[in-house]
């Protein structure tokens, strides 16, 4: 009896499921829903609120892709992934897109069977330590116990730094970020290390009094975060890439969710191509020509997304720094829409 129900359930569930590798684009289109792998809960990047509504800069990328594909940013199903199962989930076709503050590296790009989209957030690894320890810079931390995430680039960078500078750190690695934080909060370790943006987010949201903790000035690594798709999934990668570029380009062109309808009437040929008034840019990608219009309308441009999730409007209050547009001294630079 139960088996029969279970079988029926299997079919229902399998029907919701997924993906032809290499044909993700068609599979997503046919399903009418994007399955996006995100963080288990990192405020500012990807985290659900009490009602289970997701937000964050990675989540915005998922929404942008959904808006480009379906004209509706809400057609996303989020799958929360840990550090350990993110790549295997993508490889196995569980998710269509991995947008989980993942550093692009050569090894991951090649041996893990995945391909990275352009960078959507530039980061670097830093150190968080309690103010009362009186630590001013990294060399003061010799011999400290450091908590980090297992299987992350942070863990490897820490080992490298330790080796070069003979810091005799004791590294303790945990599976999930909340385990790392609780180990730090209970004093199991002296220092918490991960990417600086994450540290900012954790300091603001996970510490009882944020002012009791300080992020050290040193940055010991480059951490370009990028979304990833399966290897050899070219058409799908194109869509993800240009959805992100649309957000960046929109910011550069001064198009925001507020003024997008107005800007579409502009005579500027660049804007016309971006917002789908002419140029058939969407057709080339296999989606509606107004895909960028929908993204900006429903998700906003890159700057809006940043401000909402990480900037002064959020609890995290992060400097934009490297994440400014290239015109403002940052690194974000979209390829032209033509």
């Amino acid at each position: 009896m139960l088996q029969r129900l279970f079988l029926a359930a299997t079919f229902i569930v399998a029907a919701i499921g997924n993906a032809h590798a290499g044909m993700t684009f068609d599979a997503v289109k046919a399903r009418g829903m994007l399955v996006c792998g995100v963080h288990t809960g990192l405020p500012g990047f990807g985290a659900p609120n009490e009602k289970g509504v997701w937000s964050g800069i990675d989540v915005d990328l998922c929404r942008a892709v959904a808006a480009a594909m379906f004209g509706d940013a809400t057609k996303v199903k989020y799958v929360a992934l840990t550090n350990s199962n993110r790549f295997t989930s993508l490889q196995s076709g569980d998710i269509d897109l991995l947008a989980r503050s993942t550093t692009a590296t050569l090894a991951r790009d090649t041996t893990n069977g995945i391909n990275f989209a352009p960078v959507n957030f530039y980061d670097g690894q830093g150190f968080l330590v309690a103010t009362k320890r009186n630590v001013k810079s990294l060399p003061d931390l010799r011999g400290a116990t450091v908590c980090t995430l297992s299987g992350s680039t942070s863990e490897q960078n820490l080992a490298d730094y330790n080796r070069i500078h003979k810091m005799s750190f004791q590294a303790i690695a945990f599976e999930k970020i909340d385990e790392v934080v609780s180990a730090y909060n209970t004093g199991r370790c002296d220092v918490l290390t991960t990417d600086k943006s994450q540290l900012g987010s954790l300091r603001a949201t996970q510490m009882t009094t944020p002012d009791d903790h300080v992020i050290l000035p040193e940055t010991i690594s480059k951490e370009p975060f990028a979304a990833a798709v399966r290897h050899g999934d070219d058409q799908w990668l194109d869509l993800v890439k240009w959805s992100l570029y649309a957000m960046i380009e929109a910011e550069e062109a001064g198009v925001t969710s507020k003024n997008v309808a107005e800007k579409a009437k502009s005579a500027d040929p660049n804007l016309q191509r971006l917002l789908g008034v002419n140029g058939n840019m969407g057709k080339a990608l296999g989606v509606d020509d107004k895909f960028a219009y929908r993204i900006v309308e429903q998700v906003g441009n890159y700057g809006e997304s940043f401000d909402r999730n990480l900037g002064p409007a959020s609890r995290i209050n992060l400097e934009r720094g490297l994440n400014h547009l290239w015109t403002n001294g940052g690194l974000h630079y979209a390829a032209p829409f033509r």
Binding site: S84, T111, T145, N162
Partner: protein
């Protein structure tokens, strides 16, 4: 309906013949197993190829690039993944071995306590067993870990119950003798002591068989081992230097440290498994007919001797097989280490898996390693069981 007979009566069609059917069933089963196996393997290979995931165990020789906090053999991030996995395996074996010994001791005490004539003690033991058995081990591990890290003071305020001993949320730091070549002599002495004890035990057994006079073998053996080790230590130059932990910077330097992760896992495994072992011990003792106790008491043996000479040897025969499966459970349960950040084999393997993306190889490694060690443990216990059973039957 077919008669179960080797010869097929005439008139029964071939497909109703029992032998033919047996062969048929087996052929069908093997075909199904082979087909499913082939189907899975070919799917997997196709998927791997399509996604350009490399296969094979070659990755094991690549540089690991991460550090392991707890190591019994030297491990640097420049070492290979294979060495990292060995470090993890040694950690697993260490915690399991100590856990098995402690759980056996605690379990036996509790099991005997449940049979105590003292009402209060028996009740307390029962409460312990019922509570511990009915709460998931993972929850208990979380509790112990949180208890250790959250209720013990930080390094600077570390408890200092004995000179050189520090208890803090970084774990327990204790002094250890500084090892040098002279102390190898102490080990040699210890080995001689053990050898001497074995001879002594043989002699004592023979004498008891011949004359009936018992000999306090256990105390004598302990004495022999201690004395010989001490002599060895003196010959080696009587080094008495201790490495004493001291607060320095962020932690302790010197001495030996027991990490909170290790401690929580060890306590959790011991406490949990002991509850099951207690039930086995109780069952084993109860299984020995009460007449045996009465007979022993009638012979004038003291109750301690009744337990040691009459009850336990007989109970062992009942106890050993289920005990084996508890030991195996403890060993397999040690994999829960991953949830509290202790670097056991699975935890290291998990890190390797997500650094290299070699999921299939890594899961296969876990299975192979645990299967091998499980088989080793159970064959050892079978050997022991046969020994116990044999002695019982020849007497």
């Amino acid at each position: 309906m077919t008669l179960r007979a080797t010869d097929r009566p005439s008139g029964v069609p071939w497909y109703n013949d029992e032998k033919t059917r047996g062969v048929l069933y087996q052929v069908v089963l093997l075909a199904v197993v082979l087909f499913v196996g082939w189907w899975l393997v070919s799917n997997t290979l196709r998927n791997l190829e399509q996604r350009q995931i490399s296969t094979g165990f070659g990755f094991l020789w690549r540089e690991a690039g991460f550090a392991i906090a707890e190591q019994r053999i030297r491990f640097e991030p420049t070492d290979s993944y294979a060495r990292a996995l060995i470090v993890g395996l040694l950690n697993t074996l260490e915690v399991s071995a100590i856990g098995i010994v402690l759980a056996t001791l605690l379990g036996t005490v509790v099991g005997v306590a449940r049979l105590s004539t003292n009402w209060l003690i028996a009740r307390l033991a029962t409460v312990y067993v019922e509570v511990v058995r009915n709460i998931p081990l993972l929850l208990q591990l979380f509790f112990w870990y949180a208890f250790i890290t959250q209720s013990l003071p930080g390094v600077r305020e570390a408890l200092h119950p004995l000179p050189g001993v520090f208890l803090s949320n970084r774990g327990l730091a204790v002094p250890v003798p500084e090892f040098n070549e002279g102390q190898a002599w102490a080990l040699v002495g210890g080995a001689i002591g053990i050898a001497a004890s074995i001879f002594l035990a043989r002699w004592a057994r023979k004498r008891q068989d011949a004359t009936g006079q018992p000999f306090p073998t256990i105390f004598a053996a302990l004495g022999l081992i201690i004395v010989f080790s001490f002599i060895g230590w003196l010959i080696g130059g009587a080094h008495s230097a201790l490495s004493i932990p001291e607060k320095s910077g962020f932690g302790f330097s010197g001495g030996a440290e027991l990490s909170p992760e290790f401690a929580a896992l060890l306590i959790g495994l011991t406490v949990y498994t002991a509850a099951f072992i207690a039930e086995i011990v109780r069952g084993g003792v109860l299984a020995v007919a009460y007449g045996q106790t009465e007979a022993a008491m009638a012979l004038g043996l003291k109750s301690g001797l009744v337990m040691r000479l009459i009850l336990l040897p007989q109970a062992l025969r009942v106890i050993v097989p289920p005990m084996t499966s508890q030991y195996l459970n403890l060993f397999k349960n040690s994999t829960l280490a991953i949830a509290i950040g202790f670097r056991d084999f699975v935890s290291v393997d998990d890190t390797v898996m997500n650094q290299t993306g070699q999921a299939i190889e890594c899961v296969a490694l876990i299975m192979a390693v645990y299967l091998t060690v499980s088989l080793l443990i159970s064959s050892f216990m079978n050997w022991y069981n046969n020994k116990v059973a044999l002695r019982g039957s020849t007497r």
